[in-house]
Symmetry: C2
Subunit: 388 residues, 2 copies
């Protein structure tokens, strides 16, 4: 029996989000465009800006967050950490230049536009964040995760996340009027140390612990259960260490990559298939179309967008110049999307009072637009490689 008026909400919002995402995905693929762009636009369409069928809410954002965690976990399952460590030098250079260029350009642009120094710096920080989820989804869907450029992108995205944390911490403490050097150092050591330790010894620890557990435990689907526990544990620990939960999820996948069964792959894939549309639609849902009715805001948004694309591409491609132009271009394009990370930084700045409502809308626009722009570029950069 359907007991109350709210009983329909859950299945209905599942249907609207999942259904609209898959519908526009199919439509875009048929038009020769990346389906992922269709899914994000589905969010814009069903969201408050256009049709107004669905508003962002706590449940949907939780599903979105779970979705991107599972997405990166699944990507991690296909990458050996040793392979990622081998790209370390290039990935670090890509990350550093890919952080410095957008930060500098964003900061300068906003200062030129007449904004306060702290607002300008915060906008620059919001332009730093790479959403690896979008690129990972495109690469995974095309079977390109084993490509050299893909591994550089993933490695750089992890380092990028840590650098983004440090910049934000620095600006927040600047905004409070005092730079606490000790606090910042602890933040840096914790984030870098945690990431380095898990990436270096994660696989070995898993190889030590999992096989005896598998022999001992009695339940069904024990491998999957252990994989989930590792995923959630590393997500929790990474948040405590200051890095994003999805970085922990990615490292959990990598740690398992060498001795995971086909069964775990399949079961994880089910969760990912169900939840990734919620991540993509969630990005579109947050775009506030109404904010761009004012012409100055629109022009600023377009300028910030151009700066965000050019600076990230140039910085990252330069960092990867050693690989030659084709791969450097792939890396540059792959780092462009800011996705959910840029949006969360914008919300944070707003809540701290460091940026105004219109700058927040501009950053959200930049995040969504870079995310929409990247997949077609990626498709172009990787053409004649991978499936379809």
């Amino acid at each position: 029996m359907a007991l109350d008026a709210n009983a329909v909400q859950l299945p209905l919002s599942m249907l609207v989000v999942f259904g609209s995402a898959k519908l526009l995905d199919e439509l875009f693929e048929r038009l020769g465009q990346p389906g992922i762009v269709g899914q994000i636009l589905a969010g814009v369409m069903v969201g408050p800006g256009v049709l107004g069928w669905i508003a962002p809410n706590e449940f949907l954002s939780a599903l979105a967050e779970l979705g991107v965690m599972f997405l990166l976990f699944r990507v991690g399952l296909e990458i050996k950490s040793s392979e990622l460590m081998n790209t370390g030098g290039t990935a670090s250079l890509v990350a550093v230049l890919g952080v410095a260029a957008p930060f500098g350009l964003g900061w300068g642009l906003l200062l030129l536009w007449g904004h306060a120094p702290i607002e300008a710096a915060f906008t620059g920080a919001a332009m730093v964040a790479t959403s690896v989820g979008i690129t990972a989804q495109v690469l995974a869907a095309k079977g390109l995760l084993q490509h050299r450029a893909s591994k550089i992108i993933l490695g750089a995205a992890v380092i990028d996340d840590v650098l983004g944390l440090l910049i934000l911490a620095l600006i927040s403490s600047l905004a409070k009027g005092q730079v606490r050097v000790l606090e910042l150092t602890i933040t840096a050591v914790l984030a870098i140390g945690f990431t380095a330790i898990v990436a270096t010894w994660g696989t070995r620890a898993v190889n030590l612990v999992i096989p005896p557990l598998l022999r001992t435990l009695k339940g069904s689907e024990v491998q999957f259960t252990l994989a989930m526990l590792l995923l959630f544990s590393l997500a929790v620990l990474s948040v405590y260490a200051g890095v994003a939960a999805i970085i922990g999820a990615f490292m959990a996948g990598m740690a398992l990559s060498e001795n995971v069964t086909h069964r775990v792959h399949d079961l994880t894939q089910g969760v990912t298939e169900l939840l990734v549309p919620f991540f993509l639609v969630g990005i579109g849902l947050n775009l506030d179309v109404a904010a761009f009715a004012s012409a100055p805001t629109l022009w600023l948004a377009l300028a910030v967008l151009a700066a965000a694309i050019v600076s990230k591409f140039a910085g990252c491609a330069l960092g990867a110049y050693k690989l030659g132009w084709p791969d450097a271009r792939r890396v540059g394009v792959g780092m462009i999307p800011r996705g959910e990370v840029g949006m969360v930084v914008a919300q944070l700045g707003l809540s701290l009072g460091l940026i105004g409502q219109n700058i927040c809308a501009v950053v959200v626009f930049m995040s969504v637009a870079t995310t929409l722009v990247a997949p077609p570029f990626l498709k172009l950069a990787f053409r004649r490689i991978g499936r379809s």
Copy 2:
């Protein structure tokens, strides 16, 4: 980067719920007890009553609801609707007697205990609801879904849900002081009509629609996508028709059972494995241990529990007498758990002002306790059949 203080909440609550469920599951299996009981008790333990690590919240209850929807969808995938229809006569008798006996006994008991007629009637109605999720999980885990008694239980549970709806609608309108016959008739026709039509023609409709769609659509995992769309659509429609979303999910599974691939099974299984612990822990989370500090409430709770167990068992076993004692006993035991359904009815009664806080606590206790009692009885009733 972990951007705000709440970033840890999502992975942490996933870890606590999933981890505690799996831990107690393992422990109970090792002690020769049903793991499902361990998972429900994990909810009692981490919940507000004992450790207080987690409180029921909107996100967790949404995951729980999704979990039981996927559970019944997966069970439906293993049952052909034609097989279920064949059990129709017996299943109907089981449902009717299994609804009449608890309702009558509950009503009478509360009247004898000195409660108001409307409160007594509502408590009786709350004792009617069968949570098929628990039994389905036990039977599925032991590979017993193909057993004759299992199919009767599933068929009876569907009819039981419709009957429960009608009783609740009747009592609610009695409470408002007027019985609107037309409204009740429409409710009945809609619920019965929807269920009968989907059960009868669902498979045929799916066989007509799905194959051409599969030939046309381009995306990856198209079969899984279509299965999810059917699942959410039927869940939505069943709520509009007045029956529970899980009944729609179950019928979606049945409609697909004849031409679903192994791949869809595996992907669905991943979601189910992840989410079912949230359903089970969610049941335990809602038990308010503190309410039973008062002796009269405790005695009433025990009396209601005894009445709920005896009446459901006797009614359903009597309905299945034609099958002989072993199967009649299995059916009777399988219908005992009230689980989440009883709890939702209790909440509804409280919000309508038809029952008091202490009766609400009693009904929740009855719901949890019948759910804990059923798995060991089921194990006993089905011993020497099925795996492990």
